[in-house]
């Protein structure tokens, strides 16, 4: 009996058949984290006592035939930007080093009510700002496939935790690729649901018009199962859309007849690594052999997405991070301050470099005299990009392309050029800017490093990207490959 690299479906089957208990499974992962995480640095906090307590309760429910959901007793991890009541939540910032949230994020409540066992909180770029998980105030998360390389970001700890088998699944957030990029670099499935599909209540805010909670799993079926749990509407977030939650798992497909796939020309430009393009084209051929009709489509304005994103995100960051003033919670520099303004200044020195840079850029874009030229312009171009995607979606069901333009960077390579780091999200941000949904599913290897296929769908058509991803995943065996640690 092996416990390595279980999917949710595998784990639940073993629990149901009495081959293992949730407590045993939880201990197995805690041991693994204890032994191996020093090589990877996936987790900021591990919560063994809480995990074992919840696992014992789940075993008790199972014995009484009183299970709460199809994931009851399954252990996983949470990105440390989702607040957890009474459990330290840092957003990988020194600002929140000692922050104990007084409440629980909506998605965390939903998962705990479903019986999830939380093993711990995963590392990220500070406040989810970055593409590498190098910008964490704590440590750099390493790629389990090659520990000399970055794992991607900002949900790098979550991606690494799933790739390294520290738990069965993980929750992350994706504002501009922060789930799909690290998923593509770790051979995991990464889902960014449509904006509004999952509540953001209790997600430490970065850019509120783009932030969205999503998933890392080892199969598309697992992702579909989890999405049906976390997509529950929430009164506490007015952008959480009051739509009934589909049973995503029952809508998965294995045959793609009747599905039209658009390969986006702009996603296959010269700037994208040749081997990545090759893997993507092979995946497209595979979709065709499963019955899909494939067309090449052009979305010229998608190329402007990153520029739009680089104005909107810092603008929203500069407003969202105003709250860190050293007064109500978070780091306070009051001891060194002589008056109130000084408290703000002394406290806010604790932001990391990238946070400061984005606050500066956003304050500039929103400042008098520049607002129209930058923020307003970006907002209008955003609407135009969205419109262009809508038009293409009149003729295709899903769009495909690569997730990342390159393989994961070497740690210690010159990662100090902020523009170079933003560029890693070049192909991921159009989904966020246009308010669509997207998934990264493993589609091959180049130089022994994973490559991801991106499947993008219409707003609130998450079931179709999952259906296509599932058909592709079931007909390939990329997910059977695992890193050696």
């Amino acid at each position: 009996m092996t416990l390595d690299f279980l999917t949710i479906i595998d784990a639940v089957k073993m629990l149901d058949e009495g081959k293992i208990t949730s407590v045993e499974l939880t201990k197995h992962y805690l041991d693994k984290i204890n032994k191996l995480d020093r090589k990877i640095n996936a987790l900021i906090s591990v919560t063994p006592d809480l995990a074992l307590k919840e696992a014992a309760k789940s075993d008790d429910r199972r014995a009484k035939n009183n299970l709460r959901s199809a994931i009851d007793g399954v252990p996983g991890t949470l990105k440390d930007v989702l607040v957890t009541q009474s459990v330290r939540t840092t957003a990988a910032s020194k600002m929140l080093n000692d922050f104990i949230p007084p409440y629980e994020a909506h998605v965390v409540s939903l998962l705990k009510n479903a019986g999830m066992v939380v093993l711990g909180k995963t590392n990220l770029d500070e406040y989810a700002m970055g593409t590498t998980t190098v910008n964490s105030a704590y440590f750099i998360t390493k790629n389990p496939w090659d520990t000399t390389r970055v794992v991607g970001g900002s949900s790098g700890g979550s991606a690494a935790a799933v790739a390294a088998d520290f738990g069965v699944f993980s929750l992350g957030t994706d504002t501009g690729g922060s789930i799909r990029l690290p998923a593509s670099w770790t051979n995991t499935v990464g889902v960014r649901p449509t904006y509004g599909r999952v509540s953001r209540n209790g997600v430490i805010a970065m850019a509120s018009s783009l932030d969205q909670v999503g998933l890392f799993t080892r199969s598309v079926v697992d992702a579909a199962l989890l999405l049906s749990i976390i997509a529950e509407p929430d009164k506490g977030d007015s952008t959480s859309v009051r739509k009934t939650v589909p049973d995503y798992q029952s809508l998965l497909k294995s045959d793609l007849h009747g599905i039209t796939v658009g390969l986006v020309k702009q996603f296959m430009s010269d700037g994208v690594d040749e081997n990545i393009k090759k893997s993507v084209l092979e995946a497209v051929a595979q979709l065709k052999s499963l019955g899909a009709e494939v067309k090449e489509v052009s979305i010229p304005l998608s190329e402007m997405s990153l520029a739009v994103y680089m104005i909107l995100v810092p603008s929203e960051v500069s407003t969202n991070l105003e709250r860190y003033d050293g007064i109500r919670y978070g780091y306070s520099g009051a001891n060194h301050a002589k008056n109130l303004k000084d408290v703000y200044l002394q406290s806010r020195t604790h932001f990391g470099d990238e946070a400061k840079r984005r606050i500066m850029l956003g304050s500039f874009a929103l400042s008098s005299g520049y607002y129209d030229a930058y923020y307003n312009k970006a907002k209008r171009v955003r609407a135009m990009i969205s419109h262009q995607f809508d038009q293409v979606f009149q003729n295709v069901d899903v769009l495909v392309g690569p997730v990342a333009p390159s393989l994961p960077f070497k740690i210690g390579d010159d990662l100090s050029d902020p523009l170079k780091l933003w560029m890693a999200d070049l192909l991921a941000v159009p989904v966020n800017v246009a308010g669509l949904c997207g998934v990264s599913v493993p589609c091959g290897f180049s130089e022994n490093l994973p490559v991801g296929l991106q499947i993008m769908g219409k707003a609130f058509d998450d079931e179709t990207i999952l259906a296509v991803a599932n058909a592709y995943q079931k007909s390939t065996n990329w997910l059977d490959s695992h890193p050696n640690l």
Binding site: L340, L345, M360, F364, Y374, W422
Partner: protein
Amino acid sequence: MDKIDKTEVKHIAELASLSLTEKEVDRFSVDLTNILKYINQLDEVKVDSGAIDNESLYNIWREDEITNINMRDQLLQNTPDQKDGFIRVKAVFGDS
């Protein structure tokens, strides 16, 4: 705008309540100028009058129901300086 010079950096830092070291001022001037160069490609996009931003957006209201009550102590558990259930702050003017 083509360049964010050091004077501009200091002005923005003041707006954002950030106290920057001279080294940070130098670096951010270079970084922000480079980022601006990339962003300026938006100049190529002619915004057509049809592109009304947020045309599909609308406000979502709900009843203002009281749900979480008596959480004062939990809410204050992260507050650095407090007295008798109140948050204590420095004086707005001068030394305190």
